[in-house]
């Protein structure tokens, strides 16, 4: 079973496994972190700005938001629905990106960790 106690020695940061230092120094890890941040940082800033723009315009740009687009459908409704569309789009893009660009590197590094751990006895947390 997988239940060993929580790794902790009270009141200090707990024990350190040197295999993490090796993985941290690996070029693959640097590439993984770079790719991860290259997506999520700009994407987060973009959707937050886009959302706040919507909120602020809804409160302070009545004339713009109230303009009719077609029939009874106004800019405010289209803008609101666009927030749904961009949320779905960013989520979908991230799922594509992470499957292609992040998962292979993460798996490779995890495999190295397992190999290193197997050399020193059973893997912590493994069933």
């Amino acid at each position: 079973m997988s239940q060993d106690p929580v790794p902790q020695t009270p009141d200090t940061a707990s024990r350190h496994d040197p295999v993490y230092d090796e993985l941290h120094a690996a070029p693959e890890f640097h590439e993984l972190r770079r790719r991860y941040r290259a997506f999520v940082f700009p994407a987060t800033i973009a959707f937050l700005v886009w959302y706040l723009l919507y909120v602020v315009l809804s409160m302070f740009a009545g004339d713009f938001m109230d303009a009719k687009v077609v029939g009874n459908i106004n800019v405010a409704l289209v803008f609101g629905l666009l927030q749904f569309a961009t949320t779905f789009l960013i989520a979908w893009l991230y799922s594509q990106y992470s499957t292609k660009k992040l998962d292979p590197l993460a798996r490779e590094l995890d495999d190295r960790y397992i190999a290193a751990a197997d050399g020193r006895g059973p893997r912590r947390g493994h069933a």
Partner: protein, 534 residues
């Protein structure tokens, strides 16, 4: 009377179904990982449904459609914040939390910091957020069930609150995470199916022409064309506009700091499944909020005269149920009675699933963080810790019942927004700094959590919500000086700022060393908790 009977029968069916699930789940729960994290063996789809079930509260289902029915476009503003917020969870939180923690939000902080202070802080904010949210849900449940059953008796409301409290304690103590998850999955399916049915029936009335639906809604409302434009509720003056921006900020940043949502990421085998579950949750929640748009404007368009007055008298909560009755054939028809009872039962299931998630999150944190790590210094056995979780669930359930019964006469609708504000001000800064800032340390984490918590709660205490307005909690005296009802605009920056100041004024080099390990583990999953093999 027959309508009430039908509704009651369906309510009891929901209760029986969830009790059956809980007992079944309890037979499969053996270890701590089973109890707290469902053995980490739920699939991405299952967990996505459960997240939807955990998140879409009665406040969303009845509250947002009701807000749209009464205030038009401004009701829709809420749902957008509730949805966009999931991108924060997807991009910054879900996967890394899955890889670096075990059972609670505090695990991820304690990974590289002094155990006791950060766990105490994280558990405090977890319990505060959960209790606020829980109180709002339970008071809502009392009023709602009485409303749905068509009885207006204080005894029935009290009985419902006690009943809901007893049920949530039962789900959590007996079924643990596995039972709670299945209750949430069933609820999500019922909610999506029930609302999809009403949405299709409403759209059919308007020949699937959205513009026609909106036009009818606007002309039947008291506001005319303005009903379709932002501003009826929040556009009154500068204060109300800033108040909404403050609320919008708390909604979008708070979701990824809600403890009952965070613990759901531990129930899947890998971080890839955590990602997949958020993708499913985004899909479900997005579709659901599009449904509420149709339900809200549909109610405004189709409910007129007495029925519209009933919706207004219920604060909007009856908009969806009465709309269901109308599309089923109207008052007095069999179809109307069946659909009304169905939607009422769905709303009831919705409440149960959410309160179960909140009780589980808070009692797990009390046992895992406070009891085991702070009091027992990590020496408690799994058995002792699980026993303490069950005791904590009973106590939290008891406290929630004891607070909810007298709170019924108070205007506590602000508590849900406050829970989001606390999550955004206290929890999110700590989580984000911890994952992305090497230097972040114990003092930074403790300051940001307590600072964000105190700022959010304190500002609300000095706001017109608590004193000095017609709808205030306390009448008769006025100590308010903070003009906004939503503290997020100030308290979120305060949480981030205190996290920064706390960090740079403290030298604690070991957290930087442990950050290396945390970063590798969070991004690669190396050494993360594995699923239980049965």
């Amino acid at each position: 009377m027959d309508d009430q009977l039908l509704t009651t029968v369906l309510f009891l069916a929901v209760v029986a179904l969830t009790l059956g699930i809980t007992i079944w789940a309890s037979r499969q729960t053996k270890t701590a990982a089973d109890y707290y994290a469902g053995g980490r063996s739920f699939s991405g789809v299952q967990n996505g449904l459960a997240i939807g079930g955990d998140y879409m509260s009665a406040a969303s289902f009845l509250g947002i459609s009701g807000a749209i029915a009464l205030t038009g476009y401004d009701g829709f503003l809420y749902s957008i914040g509730f949805l966009v917020a999931w991108l924060v969870a997807l991009l910054l939180v879900a996967e890394m939390l899955r890889n670096s923690g075990r059972f609670t939000m505090a695990d991820q902080l304690a990974y590289r910091m002094k155990q006791r202070p950060v766990r105490m802080a994280a558990a405090t904010s977890t319990v505060v957020v959960s209790i606020f949210y829980l109180l709002a849900q339970m008071v809502g449940a009392g009023a709602l069930v009485a409303l749905l059953l068509g009885v207006d008796s204080q005894a029935v409301k009290n009985l419902v609150i006690v009943g809901v409290g007893a049920l949530m304690v039962f789900y959590v103590t007996v079924g643990g995470m596995k039972g709670t998850t299945w209750v949430q999955i069933v609820k999500a399916v019922l909610l999506m199916a029930g609302s999809a049915l009403i949405v299709v029936l409403v759209l059919a009335e308007f020949n699937f022409n959205l513009s026609e639906l909106l036009g009818t809604a606007a002309s039947n409302s008291a506001h005319g064309g303005a009903f379709l434009e932002p501003g009826i509720k929040y556009g009154v003056d500068l204060t109300s506009k800033l108040d909404f921006i403050s609320l919008g900020l708390a909604l979008v940043l708070g979701t990824a700091g809600l403890p009952h949502i965070l613990i759901r990421f531990y129930t899947v085998p890998t971080s890839r499944d955590a990602r997949k579950s958020v993708l499913w949750a985004i899909t479900l929640i997005g579709i659901f909020y599009l449904f509420t748009l149709v339900l809200g404007f549909g109610a405004a368009a189709m409910l007129t005269g007495d029925k519209a007055a009933e919706v207004a008298a219920s604060g909007g909560n009856l908009a969806s149920p009465l709309l269901a009755e109308a599309v089923g054939g109207g008052d007095g028809s069999t179809g109307g009675a069946i659909l009304l009872a169905l939607i009422a039962a769905v709303a009831f299931a919705t409440i149960l699933a959410v309160v179960a998630g909140l009780t589980l999150a808070s009692s797990t944190s009390v046992a895992h963080d406070i009891y085991n790590s702070v009091i027992k210094r990590g020496e408690a056995t799994e058995k002792q810790e699980m026993k303490m979780t069950r005791i904590a669930a009973v106590v939290i359930g008891g406290v929630a019942i004891a607070l909810a019964i007298p709170a019924q006469d108070l205007n506590i609708a602000f508590l849900v927004a406050l829970a989001f504000a606390v999550a955004a001000s206290a929890n999110l800064p700590a989580i984000v700094y911890n994952m992305f800032w090497r230097r972040f340390n114990t003092r930074g984490a403790v300051w940001s959590i307590y600072g964000g918590l105190i700022a959010a709660v304190g500002l609300v205490f000095f706001s017109p919500v608590v004193s000095g307005s017609e709808t205030a909690l306390v009448t008769g005296s006025d100590w308010s000086w903070f003009p906004l009802s939503n503290p997020g605009l100030i308290s979120i920056p305060v949480g981030f700022l205190l996290g920064y100041i706390g960090t740079v004024t403290s030298r604690e080099p070991e957290t930087e060393e442990r950050f290396t390990e945390l970063e590798v583990r969070a991004l690669t999953g190396a050494g993360s908790e594995q699923a239980v093999q049965h």
